[in-house]
């Protein structure tokens, strides 16, 4: 029996409305159950699980390297962030040091992922609230970023480009030219979006003062990412618990004290600017050197040495058929994904497969605040609030 709300005795005239899972503005397959009095939402509840694919169970039956393609498919709008979180967790378990060039490229690509993910958010959020044209602009720029991803990994979305111990391949010649072109053009595009929205009276009417959350509420409800910073909490894992040499980059963490939909919109726009700064720094200071760490029993050898060295061939055979054995232990690695704190909790029993791998999905936690944001408001605001927490249902349901 699907989840529903029971009518309260004496309040029978209230309507119970099931919104979704096929509603276009629920960004996937989210179902909401709303109790309405007129057009006002009195109570709300969410129903998820339509995309549950059992990733965590599958992880337990795959070797560590085989898990990486699965991580792409959780948050399918920011697959490189998922790759990074998973690889960092396993590398922490193995106590592996990553060469600087690989770290720099990882930072560069995950920041492009952040911009790309925020572009999809901006476009869909705007179209939900009636601003059609923004979506077309956003997808134009997103295509440029996906083109860069395709150059380095061969795939636009399901990249699987980061590997345990470094990167899958050396990026092709000329890829930095594409990045440079994007970095030059993007500030102008951001201005275009701002011209369309930031001072637009209709946009302001639909977003200012809607879905308010105070800083204490945001912390108590476990929000992370832009929704937390939009409520005035200065917390960014890239700054506060730096990973993958983020401490070597200069960027600001935007926060807004208002805690409404408009504040979160401004935070995300500013984040795109800061991400662009990081991309630029990573591009200009990209160090030379290897892209994989020197750990032959963990990292696959390159094709050339496999043909000439028997040790490389043996290691290749061992890694592919059996995998590697991390020490017994457990780690929790959190990264700042576009949607907030993406955490991987990894338990190893010494075998080549994770004993348990749990994903702390930011969308799953952020979604909990939705009923709180929409209760007492109009149905039209529900759409604005779903857009503002920026959920990806693939990640919510895993």
């Amino acid at each position: 029996m699907p989840i529903t709300l029971e009518k309260i005795p004496g309040q029978e005239e209230r309507v119970i409305l099931s919104m979704g899972p096929q509603h276009p503005s629920t960004h996937g397959v989210l179902r909401l159950v709303l109790e309405l009095e007129g057009e006002t939402v009195v109570r709300a509840m969410y129903d998820i699980g339509y995309l549950h694919t059992g990733f965590e169970k599958s992880f337990e039956h795959l070797t560590y390297n085989q898990c990486i393609p699965l991580t792409d498919r959780m948050d399918y709008l920011s697959s490189l962030s998922n790759n990074l979180g998973f690889c960092l967790a396993v590398e922490k378990l193995l106590d592996l040091e990553i060469p600087p060039r690989a770290q720099w490229i990882r930072v560069l690509l995950t920041e492009l992922t952040r911009i790309q993910s925020h572009l999809v958010w901006l476009g869909t959020h705007a179209i939900d609230l009636g601003a059609m044209s923004v979506l077309l602009y956003c997808f134009r720029e997103r295509e440029d970023i996906l083109h860069i991803f395709e150059m380095v990994s061969g795939q636009r979305m399901m990249t699987s480009y980061f590997r345990i111990g470094g990167l899958a391949l050396e990026p092709p010649m000329g890829w930095l030219k594409q990045v440079e072109k994007f970095v030059k053009a993007f500030p102008g595009h951001l201005e275009e979006y701002e011209n369309l929205l930031t001072k637009n009276p209709i946009w302001l009417k639909r977003t200012v003062g809607i879905g308010k959350l105070t800083a204490d509420e945001a912390i108590a409800w476990g929000l992370s990412g832009p929704p937390l910073r939009g409520s005035g909490v200065n917390w960014d894992i890239r700054k506060n618990e730096p990973y993958s040499s983020y401490d070597k980059f200069d960027f600001k963490v935007p926060t807004r004290p208002e805690g409404d939909v408009y504040a979160r919109y401004l935070v995300r726009l500013e984040e795109m600017r800061q991400s662009l700064r990081i991309v630029q720094q990573a591009m200009e200071g990209l160090p030379e050197g290897p892209i994989k760490t020197n750990a032959p029993h963990i990292v696959l050898p390159d094709r050339e040495s496999m043909k000439t060295s028997i040790e490389a061939l043996i290691y290749h055979f061992k890694i592919v058929t059996e995998g590697f054995h991390p020490p017994v232990g457990e780690v929790y690695q959190a990264i700042e994904a576009p949607r907030g704190e993406l955490g991987f909790y990894m338990v190893s029993d010494g075998s080549p497969k994770p004993f348990r791998c749990h994903v702390r999905a930011p969308s799953f936690a952020n979604l909990q605040a939705l009923p709180k944001m929409i209760e007492g408001r109009l149905i039209a605001d529900v759409v604005a609030c779903i857009g503002t927490i920026d959920i990806v249902l693939g990640e919510v349901d895993r």
């Binding site: 108590a220 232990g329 457990e330 929790y332 959190a334 702390r360 909990q368 895993r398």
Partner: protein, 157 residues
């Protein structure tokens, strides 16, 4: 080796105020894990949240690990975060028996609601005091708990 473990402020304060609540403490890769006695979990969490200097106000995650066929077979794992000190702490509670159950943290951290529902859904661990303990990811009429180790990945159940 256990230098980090001895200098950890949270563990020290916890031992001072509630020695018997701490069953064990471990360190791996500079991450601290504290095993808490099941009946003292709420008290420990309230202490860690409210004690000035610790301020673990942010519950980032709840999950569980199944150690089948060992008994007690489940470990419920809590990841706490102090935004003020940029510090993380892992709490663990053991649960076992026919009907594994631990106390719900909903009244201490509101966000525990969905996390606990997920653990209940996938592991079948009860959370005493949870206001709405129903399946969240699996269908309502599903039989069995998929993330248990004795539940097959494919084929017939």
């Amino acid at each position: 080796m256990p230098s980090d473990l001895e200098s950890n402020l949270a563990l020290k304060k916890l031992r001072e105020s509630a020695q018997e609540a701490v069953e064990d403490a471990r360190e791996f890769r500079a991450e601290i894990t504290i095993y808490v006695r099941p009946d003292r979990l709420i008290q420990v969490c309230e202490f860690l949240r409210d004690e000035p200097g610790l301020t673990f106000k942010y519950l980032s995650d709840i999950t569980a690990v199944d150690h089948y066929p060992n008994e007690p077979r489940f470990e419920v794992v809590y990841h706490l975060l102090s935004l003020q000190n940029a510090e993380r702490l892992r709490l663990k509670v053991r649960a076992g028996g026919e009907n594994p159950s631990v106390d719900s943290l909903v009244l201490v951290f509101p966000c525990a609601n969905a996390f606990e529902r997920e653990v209940f859904d996938l592991f079948g661990i009860q959370f005493a005091g949870h206001p709405y303990l129903r399946r969240i990811l699996m269908p309502e009429d599903w039989e069995g708990y998929p993330l248990r180790k004795d539940y097959p990945t494919e084929g017939y159940r």
